[in-house]
Symmetry: D2
Amino acid sequence: MTKFLSDNAAAVHPAVWHAMRAADQADNPYDGDALSAELDARFTDLFGRECAALWVATGTAANCLALATMCAPHGAVVCHEEAHIEVDEGGAPGFYLHGAKLIHAQGEGAKLTPRDVAAVIDPIRDDVHQVQPHALAITQASEYGRTYSPAELETLAQFARERSLGLHMDGARFANSAALLGGSAREAARAACGTVDSLAFGFIKNGGMNAEAVILFDPEVADQVRYRRKRAGHLQCKGRYLAAQILGMLDGDVWLANAAHANAAAQEIAHGCGERLMHPVEANELFVRLTATEREALRAQGFEFYDWGEDAARFVAAWDTRQDDATALGKAIAAL
Amino acid sequence: MTKFLSDNAAAVHPAVWHAMRAADQADNPYDGDALSAELDARFTDLFGRECAALWVATGTAANCLALATMCAPHGAVVCHEEAHIEVDEGGAPGFYLHGAKLIHAQGEGAKLTPRDVAAVIDPIRDDVHQVQPHALAITQASEYGRTYSPAELETLAQFARERSLGLHMDGARFANSAALLGGSAREAARAACGTVDSLAFGFIKNGGMNAEAVILFDPEVADQVRYRRKRAGHLQCKGRYLAAQILGMLDGDVWLANAAHANAAAQEIAHGCGERLMHPVEANELFVRLTATEREALRAQGFEFYDWGEDAARFVAAWDTRQDDATALGKAIAAL
Amino acid sequence: MTKFLSDNAAAVHPAVWHAMRAADQADNPYDGDALSAELDARFTDLFGRECAALWVATGTAANCLALATMCAPHGAVVCHEEAHIEVDEGGAPGFYLHGAKLIHAQGEGAKLTPRDVAAVIDPIRDDVHQVQPHALAITQASEYGRTYSPAELETLAQFARERSLGLHMDGARFANSAALLGGSAREAARAACGTVDSLAFGFIKNGGMNAEAVILFDPEVADQVRYRRKRAGHLQCKGRYLAAQILGMLDGDVWLANAAHANAAAQEIAHGCGERLMHPVEANELFVRLTATEREALRAQGFEFYDWGEDAARFVAAWDTRQDDATALGKAIAAL
Amino acid sequence: MTKFLSDNAAAVHPAVWHAMRAADQADNPYDGDALSAELDARFTDLFGRECAALWVATGTAANCLALATMCAPHGAVVCHEEAHIEVDEGGAPGFYLHGAKLIHAQGEGAKLTPRDVAAVIDPIRDDVHQVQPHALAITQASEYGRTYSPAELETLAQFARERSLGLHMDGARFANSAALLGGSAREAARAACGTVDSLAFGFIKNGGMNAEAVILFDPEVADQVRYRRKRAGHLQCKGRYLAAQILGMLDGDVWLANAAHANAAAQEIAHGCGERLMHPVEANELFVRLTATEREALRAQGFEFYDWGEDAARFVAAWDTRQDDATALGKAIAAL
């Protein structure tokens, strides 16, 4: 079987294994080890803006720890109605933000524009009976595999500032957007990140095992997050193995190469999809119109993937997807 | 330097590495993989009682997820005043239990007896102005390296039932108590666990990397915990690497052998301590009366350890402590 | 000026004042007084089902205390997208339910049918990534002044049982629906209540000062609510003044007479509205299509009311609305 | 029977009734009415410092709303181990502060000094494993009827500033301390309040019905409290009746006269107690050593009061305690 189910269950990249093994001697516990101590500087260098970087085991925790710095319990976070934090995190924002609300905006391709956000927050009366928006959360790449351009990000950031909203980026597939935008690692990272206030920088779907990075561009709030990470039971005592994973991905720009590889595989598949594509392919996910019969036909050829509603399927390419398999899938779809 | 600082930063045992590497191909994400699916049965077999077993990355999360099943937000958990959940988990119980209270009991060696618990809950008026106790949390081995005997556990369990208190065991060093109590793996596990309602079974300090097991002896509540684990951001998508760690420790009873090794090292040290011991050594930790000068002398010989207040030190033996080093430390203390 | 702004700021009914004054000597504090002790029996008699009844100062608190008995922090409450708990309670459900989610259903006139509810909960995957529905909240009379019939309530209750959902009724204007459904006080109360699990029985908008009743038809959960009421700072030490208000409204069926009066006034107004009515008038609220110019004309005649969007107005009749004023308003609208 | 049980169930003062009746016509709902609008200015004038003042129905809510402005969910509030917020508020701080911790200090007469506070916070390690103190809560008059002098308050305020702790005063019996310190209403209020950051100014025990005032001396945080008050279900729609109570007590300094009266009655009783007094009488409460036999003898004479442990009793004088009754009680005790 050739799996295009999800990148979230892929194997771990050799560079990550290598880095973890290299960390296999006692060091200070928690985040007191030498590897964890490197993170702030490494991400500050990557993004060209001073930031704090904390490892955490899941994207859900990363998103929620960041959001909690910018939305009070009595406030709300605006996000797309199909955002992962709304739909697929088991209510984690409600837990971490102590009952704050998510306000659902609509936008094409699970992306948001200032107009989309204004449509849901402008009608909110400025009184205590209605929950006021405190933050805005976007996803890069979006839940439909779309990438915000630097210009779109700048427009959103400006809007957020005007409305006094914190701006958080769920970057579970941040690397794929960065790879799409192109350039060196620094150029790509900066283009994909824009000037958000915080970023959940995903490594797990891109070859890591269980380490994501919460990037806080206001280092003053990082201390609060350190306390909240512990309080959430996310401060691992052998944290060096998480720091190692992240550093193993940063060294030699493995993160960017892996994402570029997955993106290329997605493009291979896209070549065969033509009009069937529901969204432009701007990362490593494809949403493809396929009837039940067509899906059955593909599965009979050994391709594994998820249905997407009744008339479509989702394919995800990963860092370890073989280009041959991607090409074969593209051809199989084209041949339907 | 020879480190007796803590077992919480020790290296990862080869059997754990081996099991993790063996899990390095795509499987179903989250806890849908083959390895995670084994856990319930494996622990049910070990403990001889039906149970559900969920992996989670830290002992703090394990404790809090279990406690949340037995204490409502408006209730309280009774624990020792020096319990880890009270002193060292950054307020995690307050977070996971939505503001429930911890009631502090006193007891010798950080252990609790029914009398100790009754002393703090009997004065609580049965009215809405005072927070009522819902659960009791004990630590095996205790924060001072003491082990509850099966008889002590049975007395506590009976007391908890009489008072309608849930009974949770923080087993960060559960294996060390089990090893002390002796017998086969099954005998040791059952002796150390008694009939508690839930157990946070620690593997990390005993050779694991970042996987503990929450054991729920009422499988009906396990579903609730599965939702809460996700909600807390603790459901890793590549959960098979955590299941693998636990299974790697269960296979061949590595968990018991590692703990027995650490306990033996602790006894080696204890031989040299005589009257200096503040607590009987019933696991892998030693609390030893040592003046500042004496501690300095030991450090000058290359021993690393933490001060324990002004006039004592704590030494912790780990699964990878060399017996020679332990012997040497015991002799060095004896020679002071 | 003749006020049709809202019933929520009306004066206090003489019977309520009388009852409060009669309570003006020391009694046991909190809810230990003689008046508070009467409540359970009085409402059990009224509804013909065993229940517990607790006073509380606001409808928001009443709703949230009840909902917290049927929805865990990791669950969700289904409600209409324009439900008061979603739109106008400042996020109180998120606070009282510790981050539980509200799921928004659509339904005509802010009422819900099983089909409306199924439309939003059937698509929820039964896995830990999605928040599962635990409860259903309806409003009687609805936010658009609509009344659920006994048959509609029975259908909903059956649906809720089938789906294992708790069923709560926000009855801020419960009396108005009861009055509409008609019959004796017992008949009206039972018809309007159906077999919900809990009811926030509103008295404030109907002539009370600051006392609502939380009615819990599962008396076993009432104890939990008593603890939670205290924990929320809603256990007043001179609670007898709240119990007095409620009893003052129950005695002589003042609650029903007041509501009937307000309903009648609303019908007076409705007579003049004809096709302008956006919703059938089944309680004491009217939503009337009126242009800005028309609204201005009415205000110039001394009528006070709120705009409802750009092209409509809301009029609310209260227990103390004079029928003459209502008739005059109806005529004024008809004359536009 | 002559009641010395508590001031918390006393009747309502005529001035309060009068003010409430005067408010009995429709005005803007919630806190949009003319009376609520007066509060900020009235308390600013009283205290001579700019402040915001919000009514709320209970002292528990008042304390918790104020504390939530100065202690994050991951922080702690230091209070006396017998403080009302710790012992008698049903865990409300845990609810309102989203799981923040209370740290228990010891101090004579339920008062705290900087030394008392330092004794519990100095040992807290400055790391994420331990909950850090964010705020300090004191009670004026204390739970044992003791009054902080202006000098003591200044020392505490300075200490709080040095340690970056917010400083809150639970003033359930603030008026009694003010009356003890003496002078005009302004002088007394300022002397009793010192420079705390927030005050829960109690009126209910002193002749009110169900309105306390949360005083926030940093008006910038008041907006946050307005949102949180609504979110806690404490924004009453007919709020004018609460504002009226407070204004009725402020007008003509009724609050101060009532407290002075109660204090005087307490002194009457104290005259008969001599060495039996467990604490100096500095407000309206007395804690008196009395054997069970003695207590029985007093009760046989018609005096009602609570036992205080096994060998003592608590007597509370209220605004409506008759001096004759107080004198009689004092004599009865002296005659034992």
